[in-house]
Amino acid sequence: MNNILMILREKWMANRWVQSFIMLLSVFGPATITAMADNDASGVATYSIAGALLGYPILFLLTIITVLLGITQEMGMRLTLVTRRGLADLIREKFGVKVSLFIFIGLLVANLGTIIVDLAAVNTTSEMLGIPTIPFLLGVLLLTFVFITWGNYKLTQNIMLVVCLFYFAYIFSAVKAKPDWGLAMSNLVFPNGVTWTSKYIISYLVVGMGVLGATITPWGQFFISSFAFDKKMDKDTLKYSQFETYWGAFLTNFFSFFMIVATAATLYVHGIQLNSGDQAALAIKPFAGALASSLFAYGILAAGFMGIVIVSLSTAYAFSEFFGLSGSLDTDFRKSKTFYTLFIAQLLISALILMIPGASLFNLAIASQVLNAMILPLVFYYLIKLTSSQNLMGIHVNNGFQKYFTSAASVFIVIASAFTVIAVIFRW
């Protein structure tokens, strides 16, 4: 597997266009990769649905989300670099077992939701590729397992680079869809160009929560702090890492922008409804062409696989940090029963839920991202509290803007969550 990847890599490394892109990527490290992993299949599904349902105005939210993602990821990175401990470690040490358990359960449920959607997306692409569902699903699970067991940083990085290549499919699809670029750009600054009916506003709120939850995820917060763990801390690398997190935030939403534009320019404009992200691949076909459509589909397949691996790993690692059952996060843990039990259980539960007939993928995707968004304020609360602690952070403590912007965002998310729940319950 490694060999094939190496050959693949060699091949397109030869391409100058790809080369310069990789240069750009390799200058930046873990934060960039983390951010790219944020665009997993459930993310793609949510962005596509958002674009199809709401058109360009949802892009305004993307701007705010990018800033919030940058700030919170930077906090997580800084926290770990300064204290040399993960976010989960610190929550456990400063706030005890009960808080840890509560957050872990939240994380587990949200992650399960994300894995289900990722699996579902991978699954429906199987239909496009003409492979029967269940063998395909089992194949993906097996591949994931092999990857987790024998994977290493280098292999992951190779796969990530391949996945990143697929992200260009979204730019391609967006360009082929001939969108109104002026309208798209102006909507980044303020939402315009639609009639604000109450139905539209409610959809905007619910789907907006989904977009938020797809971009800024609780697992992403734990992921970045884990990834940063092995970096050495001094003032120079801190500055560099901070810049890197902002760049990563920009990059992830740079691609999200094109996903939204691709579906907004085609499906929203023509009033076509979507049930899931992979349908977007089929649905944009008449407008953007067969190649754009296939690329879109393969992009989802790759992003889905990456999502399954990273999200399920983040649960397992957070568990080990919170409860320290196998000592520190060294090789022992990866070989431990707890690790495999957790890992396999997540995949099995997700696969089983997915097989329940009649489950709507559209609802599932949005619901799981809304769930992610609702857990965020809780994670933010502890993140802000820890990074604002003078004792812990010394001179690297939060500045006013970081603290208040994130706090305000958390409060806003809580209120928006409440409205979303009400909106869903009363089916406005």
């Binding site: 204290t83 040399r84 401990r85 993960g86 470690d89 456990r92 040490e93 005890g96 077992v97 009960k98 358990l101 994977g151 290493n152 940083y153 280098k154 292999l155 992951t156 992921f223 884990s226 990834f227 763990f229 092995d230 050495k232 801390m233 990273i310 790993l313 690692y317 409860f323 320290g324 059952l325 000592g327 520190s328 996060l329 060294d330 090789t331 022992d332 843990f333 990866r334 004792n391 812990l392 010394g394």
Partner: protein, 421 residues
């Protein structure tokens, strides 16, 4: 026997039975002659904040309510000493060193026992049962343990093997780290890689020059350089002298040229010259990897003389298992192993049993190739010669294979995927 998770939050009652607050923390004091700290005071959280009350003023500690022996107003303030451990604040939920298993673990609960009228800290609980107890689900834990016949005691470590860690600048606790000095340098190196900056700084200062040198040899050079920022140049120079020249050269390569030069000046001339010699070569070649601490003898010696010679010089050599035979100009003539030497008759000239077909590498041979040679010929070390067959040093198998087989530090798994490269 009691657990701190059960004690915390219990009411503390005054002499007249009124509640003055709840138990928040236990203060334990260590004694040299006894490995387990003894509870010396409790911290009570009441209306007017926290207050420490000496253990001697308690009528009972391991009971449902904790009554005082005399009215609270008459009890003088407890005087904290430097090494007092606050069990809840300093140990519970924190990571500690398990010096028995040489690993860093998290404390889920702390076990207390009554010994001769005192309450002492017996074990720390690092297992699942500790977590369940904290959540009030201990029964569930016992039930599952029975069902799946797992050993619950496996989750506890005796305090004898516990070394608390300094986490934050705000912590008052001074950790002695005495137990650590007894560990193997590889274990210390592995533990250091698990700790944060404040923690390993503290730990490194507890080690003497010899231990420090041995430990540093076990970690990666870039991390070594990082660790050495904690020390003065004089101390670093001492440590460098103690390290083998090749390791010292690797370390100096990681530092700025100015710092590296000033450190070399501080070192003893003889050691510094050896290191300077090694610094001339590329890091990944035989010249960069080799050590100059090997044993040579002249071809006209016999076995008995050689053994006598080894007794004198063997102390400083990195490896004495191979003895190299050179002429006066250091041209490599032969090699024999200690076993060749020992089985030979005392008066046999070494020229009779030395191997004359020698596997050697040149100064610019790359590491990969050396590793292959070492593996192919099953060598413990391979000599390094120049174009004139003059011997310059040896590359030991562990240095040659270093790149192929990762060291302890490399083996450590970064949180998500395999080793960082």
């Amino acid at each position: 026997m009691a657990f701190i998770s059960e004690l915390a939050g219990r009411p503390v009652t005054d002499f007249d039975g009124t509640q003055i607050g709840v138990l928040k923390d236990l203060v334990a004091r260590s004694y040299k002659e006894f490995p387990h700290p003894v509870v010396d005071a409790i911290i009570v959280h009441g209306k007017e904040g926290d207050r420490a009350i000496p253990y001697s003023d308690l009528a009972a500690l391991l009971s449902a309510a904790i009554p005082l022996k005399r009215p609270a107003v008459n009890i003088p303030a407890y005087e904290f000493r430097e090494n007092d451990i606050r069990l809840v604040e300093d140990v519970l939920d924190q990571q500690i060193l398990d010096t028995d298993g040489a690993r860093v673990v998290r404390v889920n609960d702390i076990e207390l026992v009554r010994v001769n009228g005192n309450v002492v800290v017996s074990n720390v609980d690092i297992g699942m049962l500790g977590i369940l107890r904290r959540l009030g689900l201990e029964k569930l834990g016992h039930w599952t343990a029975k069902r799946f016949s797992t050993d619950l005691a496996a989750g506890t470590i005796s305090w004898e093997f516990v070394e608390p860690l300094i986490h934050d600048k705000s912590m008052r606790l001074k950790v002695p780290m005495d137990k650590l000095a007894e560990l193997h340098p590889s274990d210390i190196a592995e533990i250091i890689s698990d700790l944060n900056r404040a923690e390993h700084s503290d730990l490194l200062h507890k080690l003497n020059i010899k231990q420090l040198a041995d430990t540093l040899e076990e970690v990666e050079p870039d991390f070594q350089a990082d660790l050495l920022e904690h020390f003065s140049d004089e101390k670093v120079a001492d440590v460098l002298e103690e390290m083998s020249p090749d390791e010292a050269a690797d370390l100096l390569n990681e530092l700025s040229p100015e710092r590296s030069q000033s450190l070399l000046k501080l070192m003893e001339t003889e050691e510094a010259d050896e290191v300077r010699e090694l610094l001339r070569y590329e890091e990944d070649t035989a010249g960069g990897l080799m050590t100059t601490e090997y044993v040579t003898v002249l071809p006209d010696m016999n076995a008995a003389q050689t053994i006598e010679h080894l007794r004198k010089v063997g102390e400083d050599a990195e490896l004495v298992y191979y003895v190299y035979v050179t002429d006066a100009e250091e041209h490599l003539l032969g090699v024999f192993s200690l076993s060749n030497l020992i089985v030979a008759q005392p008066e046999t000239p070494i020229a009779d049993f030395m191997h004359k077909r020698i596997v050697s590498v040149e100064l610019d041979t790359e590491q990969d190739e050396i590793a292959q040679i070492v593996a192919k010929y099953n060598l413990i070390a391979v000599p390094v010669v120049d174009a004139d067959n003059k011997m310059h040093g040896i590359v030991t198998a562990d240095d040659a294979l270093d790149k192929v087989l990762p060291t302890a530090w490399k083996k450590r798994l970064p949180h998500f995927f395999g080793a960082h490269e």
